[in-house]
Symmetry: C2
Subunit: 220 residues, 2 copies
């Protein structure tokens, strides 16, 4: 049985409720596939949205705070944030412009983010950032020393108030539009990687690791 | 001469100022390449970040309001928003985990968004949404009728307070780490399209248009 997340007025979808997902497992799958999130917060009366890297560890989402020093002001009591992860899956070309759409999966987490002070938890979060994208990289690379750990700002958001919105499938046209001689269909989208570019100072004798050579996407 | 955008306390980059871009032409290039933006706004004391489609027309950014009925409350006086567009260009694998990074281009626009009431302006915005991704689609598909136009919520944000942040190039390691026997380099990322999937109710005699068959990315 999928665990359904309790909805609140803030996470319940008003628009297009048929696209709503409140199944925790499905929401986590979206969070685990993406690696760039958009963090929204308000400072001095202005809303900011900043992209940063993140990883889920259990029922918490960890994200880099260094990208946004603004968000760290007064964060000891917790900073109200909205974190959104969006995966673009396809362009939906209907016969009418009005019914054009996009296939996508988008997860949203609301709550108070707090700074991670504990070295072990910070290290676990950094490992998760690395390993979710490039499994094996953590052990290959030089791991953070104490000074680097101190210089790294990581924030934690408990995944309590979460939801997702998903559109999949094909074209949906108005009944009378199906007779139009207009090509209709879906153009699938995918994030892929090209061949890795070796750093010029990297010994040519070092083999390219599989996680870099074969990286495509979380789906690929 | 590139036109430099005047910085404000709100758009000036505090962290990693060497990655800041205040050249309007470069910022517009980022906005024109992406097609999903993240709109941040605050309602009832909570910040929300919602993905939606958008297009730039001249010095304004138009975006779909239908994705977020919440943001339309009280919007007649303008809704304070932050709109961010992020393009992921590559994963940077340094010899140390601490120096791992990402190549990306991210544009941010701050300001007050207002609802577009005028039919002609709304139509122009919808055309821009379509044509920026699939040039030629607007004339192929059935264009919006009056009823559809009324049912469409479009918001306009003047592009006055804008900035961008860009990381390009290769690995940057600490001097002493270059001696480590660790593979280092960049894995380039790209959004691509797979072969279009024709709608099952689409006449097989209708040729697949070039904008769908050859769609890759704005760069590709």
């Amino acid at each position: 049985m999928p665990e359904h997340v309790a909805t609140s007025d803030r996470t319940r979808l008003v628009r297009e409720p048929q696209r709503a997902v409140y199944d925790r497992e499905l929401i986590y799958k979206i969070l685990d596939e993406g690696f760039v999130c958009h963090v929204g917060f308000t400072a001095d009366g202005q809303t900011f949205v900043i992209p940063t890297m993140y990883a889920r560890v259990g029922d918490a989402l960890y994200f880099h705070g260094s990208a946004a020093s603004r968000m760290l002001r007064g964060v000891s009591t917790g900073l109200n944030v909205c974190i959104t992860v969006t995966l673009a899956d396809g362009l939906v070309l209907a016969r009418s412009v009005f019914n054009h759409s996009m296939n996508y999966r988008s997860a949203v987490a609301l709550g108070n983010a707090t700074i991670v002070d504990e070295a072990k938890e910070k290290l676990d979060a950094l490992r998760a950032f690395t390993e979710k994208i490039m499994p094996g990289r953590w052990n290959d690379a030089r791991q953070p020393n104490e000074k680097e750990l101190r210089a790294t700002s990581i924030l934690r958001l408990p995944l309590t108030e979460i939801s997702a919105k998903v559109r999949t499938g094909g074209v949906e046209d108005d009944a009378e539009d199906y007779a139009l001689p207009v090509w209709a269909g879906v153009v699938p989208l995918r994030l892929v990687a090209d061949a890795p570019l070796r750093d010029e100072r990297c010994d040519p004798a070092l083999p390219t690791p599989a996680y870099a050579a074969d990286f495509r996407s979380r789906e690929g």
